[in-house]
């Protein structure tokens, strides 16, 4: 299946085909697995070079698990991952330093992701050492360069993380991620734990860095305004599946899937002319991922739900050029 591509000239940097991750629930003395949490269930995504792919969804929809599988924190239950055309699904390939260097991650909470006992210099030095980016003698110049790049004075090289504000810590985390000179950076809620003003600075920085180094991003967030600002394409996830994917503008404007509509309506937004969107709540809770609903996974909360939705799982269908949605009644209002 070939979908989700916007620009054929663009080189695909990362591709995941039929990716699944089930977490077993072990019970009893023999640790027998009887049930599984279907964290991600048959996900196909493609990220082009220099592109930012946004992933949105409620908590528990599997967006963070997806990132963690891609960055090799978990190994997938099924499915293949290709990095620059090379199959990296075998364990050996994924564990090789050459692959790990290419994908780096920036975590949600910079208060937890930086080691409080290490100085900024040591934090940024770690990837340089592991991946042998530069010679030992050049470590300090390289660290200075990285700190300068993310806008933290090199004088503060010998400070500890607690001496920095939330926004500055996230800059250090970004510097650490970029130290390995990756091709793809996965940003897991990069601005959700920092203030609005620092958020603007981090967003500007991420865009600058992307243009400078032709980085690709996978941006995971539940804040749609951040995702819209940063990403070129957008995937909406619900209960382990992608329900809609396409160019960010098209997803925002067309909203084929009822879940996308509900998500957009729930978000408080101020537009530039000063109007405030009226919010609407989506009733019900996300169903359990242990026994996901039969048929369409969204049917328990969907206002369009009909008989077919309860029995038959909808496939992703192409509606516009490169815009896919998984709903039986997507183009009927």
């Amino acid at each position: 299946m070939d979908w989700g591509e916007i620009n054929l000239k663009n080189e695909v940097i990362l591709e995941a085909v039929g990716l699944k991750k089930y977490f077993p629930i072990e019970t009893g003395f023999l640790k027998k697995s009887i049930e599984y949490v279907h964290a991600i269930d048959t996900v196909n995504i493609k990220v082009n070079k220099g592109e930012a792919l946004g992933i949105v969804g409620e908590s528990g929809c599997g967006k963070s698990t997806l990132a963690q599988v891609l960055v090799n924190i978990y190994s997938p239950t099924e499915g293949k991952i290709f990095f620059e055309g090379v199959d990296v699904s075998p364990k050996a390939a994924r564990n090789s330093l050459g692959f790990k260097k290419n994908i780096q991650m920036v975590f949600q909470d910079p208060f937890w992701s930086l080691n409080p006992r290490k100085m900024v210099r040591d934090i940024i030095m770690e990837p340089l050492k592991v991946h042998r980016i530069v010679e030992y003698e050049c470590f300090d110049t390289e660290i200075e360069r990285l700190m300068d790049m993310v806008g933290i004075g090199k004088k503060r090289m010998f400070s500890y993380p607690h001496e920095f504000s939330g926004g500055e810590r996230q800059r250090i985390a970004i510097a650490r991620a970029l130290a390995a000179r990756p091709k793809l950076v996965i940003l897991d809620e990069p601005t959700s734990s920092i203030d609005t003003l620092s958020q603007a600075e981090i967003l500007n920085l991420l865009i600058e860095l992307r243009d400078e180094f032709n980085l690709s991003y996978i941006l995971i967030s539940h804040d749609l305004s951040v995702v819209h600002f940063l990403s070129d394409r957008l995937a909406v996830m619900y209960l382990g599946k992608i329900v809609e994917i396409g160019k960010t503008e098209t997803v925002f404007n067309l909203m084929y899937h009822p879940y996308t509509q509900a998500l957009m309506k729930a978000i408080p937004l101020i537009s530039s002319n000063g109007t405030v969107q009226n919010i609407e709540a989506l009733e019900g809770n996300v169903p359990s991922a242990i026994n996901p609903p039969k048929g369409c996974r969204f049917h328990t909360r969907c206002y369009k739900c009909q008989e077919i939705c309860r029995n038959k799982e909808p496939e992703l269908r192409e509606f516009e050029d490169g815009h896919f949605a998984a709903c039986h009644f997507a183009n009927q209002s």
Partner: protein, 336 residues
């Protein structure tokens, strides 16, 4: 300005703290009022003093923090003159109540919902029979729109979703018929879809019970969807107060303007977001003049000499900025 319409009024409040490094000036609020039945939003970054303001109102300040001067009038009574005993007997719970950011941390994990809600009710209404208590719990859970209250109240907090936990907390907060609810980032830990439901609930409660809410948040878009009026708090000082539409469409203070323009809205895609240079003021070493002077792009020498007076620019819209004072030669009549 009729003080009868106000459920809460704060006048010239100054809160300081003793620290090893010296005295820190934490809050300096000239005037702030919450009208009966309105949702009033306090917006600020972390460290602005939003939560401290809530604690000051409830009289729950940490040991080293003290009120230097000022008045907090709750329905005309000065809360700062009351003893802790009086506060806990008559004000906290019965008059002013509060919900917090993380509902899981506020609920006791080893008791069921019924145990926890009924405990609050019987604390405030001693002498209720078992049946009456049961009915009151059901009534409270129905008030916050929890589906199937009979079953929900037998559950433990970990069996509930985040949105349901927050609803249980709201029901506990309201069970003594308080008329001012302080919500301290109450929806921060929730998903957007669930958050929308809680916001709707707050709006409904304001309408149905005439409940006033002090809505503390760092998210301007979020606050502007529920609040009628907003106050912008910066380093412990209120820079601007006004109706939501006024604040969003026509922000008068430079800080409010920068705050709004740094939001990544749909129209701003592809351009760098404007940011404010400089760092947040240190409470130990506050500027003598305007608190925002060192980061303000419109800075002039007089800004750092005198504190700007807090004046009414248009009816109901207050501002602390010297520049605007000159543009609009209007009154100082709020300082009477």
């Amino acid at each position: 300005m009729n003080s009868k319409d106000n459920v809460l009024e704060i006048k010239d409040l100054k809160v300081d703290a003793h620290t090893v490094m010296g005295t820190a000036e934490l809050l300096n609020i000239k005037h702030l009022e919450i009208k009966t039945g309105e949702i009033f939003g306090i917006i600020g970054e972390s460290g602005a003093g939003k939560s401290l303001l809530a604690l000051t109102i409830l009289g729950l300040l940490p040991k080293n923090v003290y009120v230097k001067n000022g008045q907090i009038l709750y329905k005309g009574e000065d809360l700062l003159k009351k003893s802790q005993e009086e506060l806990s007997q008559r004000i906290r719970g019965k008059g002013i109540t509060m919900i917090f950011q993380d509902p899981m941390a506020s609920l006791n994990p080893v008791f069921t919902v019924y145990d926890q809600v009924s405990q609050v009710i019987s604390r405030h209404n001693p002498g209720l029979s078992k049946k009456q208590l049961y009915d009151r719990v059901i009534e409270m859970l129905e008030l916050v729109k929890l589906s199937d209250p009979e079953n929900t109240m037998k559950k433990y907090p970990h069996e509930l979703s985040g949105g349901m936990r927050q609803r249980v907390l709201i029901s506990m907060a309201l069970s003594a018929k308080a008329d001012l609810l302080i919500s301290d980032e109450a929806t921060r830990a929730l998903d957007v879809t669930i958050q929308a439901g809680i916001l709707k609930l707050l709006e409904e409660l304001a309408e149905k019970l005439g409940l006033s809410t002090l809505f503390i948040s760092s998210n301007m878009a979020l606050a502007s969807t529920v609040c009628q009026r907003l106050g912008i708090l910066y380093a412990g000082e209120v820079l601007e107060i006004g109706r939501v539409e006024e604040i969003i469409r026509n922000p008068r203070h430079v800080y409010t303007r920068s705050f709004l323009s740094s939001l990544p809205t749909v129209e701003k895609k592809g351009k760098p977001l404007p940011i404010i240079k400089g760092i947040y003021p240190d409470p130990l070493n506050k500027a003598k003049g305007c608190i925002f002077a060192d980061r303000c792009p419109d800075y002039s020498a007089e800004c750092s000499q005198n504190k700007p007076t807090y004046h009414e620019v248009i009816p109901g819209h207050f501002l602390a900025c010297i520049k605007e004072e000159k543009h609009k030669p209007s009154s100082d009549n709020d300082m009477d």
